[in-house]
Assembly symmetry: D2
Homo-oligomer: 142 residues x 4
């Protein structure tokens, strides 16, 4: 299977820094969400589409490995890859310095579909999402 990968670029803001002079570790979750939303935009099934299709996709697991600190004004690239989609949305992230390519952080998130009306967690991802992924995979494999 070819994976769907999107590169999302952003920059560290002043408000991201803490009193150690580097980006506070909790703010990475914002970076990851923006990158994941960029990935979902490419797939064509964003949070609004999810809601419209009757499903919420809460994050059920988050894992971040911090390798090197991020500093104010540092330009970063987040390489975001969809590694699982049939039973959940699993995304991996590699944060690098946008200029030097230096590896800064790795992360992974897992989301499960929840049927909004019944409140039940789905063990299989709804077609509204998987169909979009399969169309894109077919296109990128050609």
């Amino acid at each position: 299977m070819t994976h769907i990968t999107v590169n999302y670029k952003t920059v560290v803001s002043f408000y991201d820094t803490d009193s150690m002079g580097v980006a506070w570790h909790g703010h990475y979750v914002r970076f990851l969400e923006d990158a994941r939303c960029a990935l979902l935009d490419v797939i064509g099934h964003d949070y609004n589409d999810m809601k419209a299709s009757g499903y919420a996709w809460p994050v059920v697991q988050l894992h971040v490995k911090y390798m090197k600190p991020l500093i104010f004004k540092q330009k970063i690239n987040i390489k975001t890859t969809l590694v699982e989609f049939e039973n959940c949305i699993k995304v991996t992230y590699l944060i690098t310095d946008a200029d030097t390519g230096d590896k800064l952080s790795k992360a992974e998130t897992m989301q499960m579909a929840v049927h909004v009306d019944s409140g039940e967690t789905c063990m299989v991802s709804p077609p509204a999402f998987t169909d979009k992924v399969r169309v894109l995979l077919k296109r990128t494999c050609k």
Copy 2:
């Protein structure tokens, strides 16, 4: 008129600090909201009650004056006063050091009721809120 005043105590967290070593000015909005929610709890009309009564109360104005920096682990007191309620919710805030009484910051917020179904802003606060305030004012004036 006697004003309704509530003192809310909190402490500055590590994640509140920025790379200048003091609480980042934007985080004060969280402190103010927690203090305002404590005031609304005393009145007996919190954000859930607002929603249940069919109204949202978005903040329409925010003003903060920063006098002295807040540092990590500093204990602060936020004296929160309801200064208007009949046409809007106007609250003033005085942030002081909880130990020394030193004045650190002043703020003011204004909220207007919006009828959720129609989306219309109300020029007069709904009775679901004002009735609660009047009951409390009567009690505190005795």
Copy 3:
């Protein structure tokens, strides 16, 4: 005097929204800071230059007027104008919908120079900053 104006574009993230489905009012402070940093970049005197010149520039006043709610994925433009620089940095902000031009919010911040070593607040802005502004004003007036 010609004012220095910079337009900063950004987009509302999912994490900016609160349970009312709109951007939480406190998150605007992040938008304003990013816009102000873009303005300082144009002037050529960013937070790092400030620090290197021996001065911190804490925000001493913040005023935000919320006119219309911001929603997830909304593209916004922040027109950022330096309206005072000789005794303080006063910046005004106009947030509009980047597509429709609809006015959404107005804001103003004031920053005062503080001499880092002495801790004293300066009643006159240091030349390291004002020189940069004057050079830019001269250039933009031609």
Copy 4:
């Protein structure tokens, strides 16, 4: 070995919620940090002591498992346990509903000591920290 455990209680604020009506997953990192700081206070070696001893303790790994959503005003208990201290600070967290005891979330963080002057990561935790832990462990084992 007896583990050092501290229970930290807090409550979900309005600004913690996102447009799904539950606490946004990234805000848990704030809850975890407050709980960890309470643990470090019991040990008697807080972030200020760390800095004074010449070491920073950046978070190098974060893992959160989200089991049930947190809602506005929900009272939560965070049972925080120091599970490793000799080569790193590894802390586990169990978030439960403070009223019902319902399990809501689990998490783990790992921090490594970094010598501030040299910038080198320490493979063994500095005595300034481990001595404090051992004193407390001896006391709690009696």
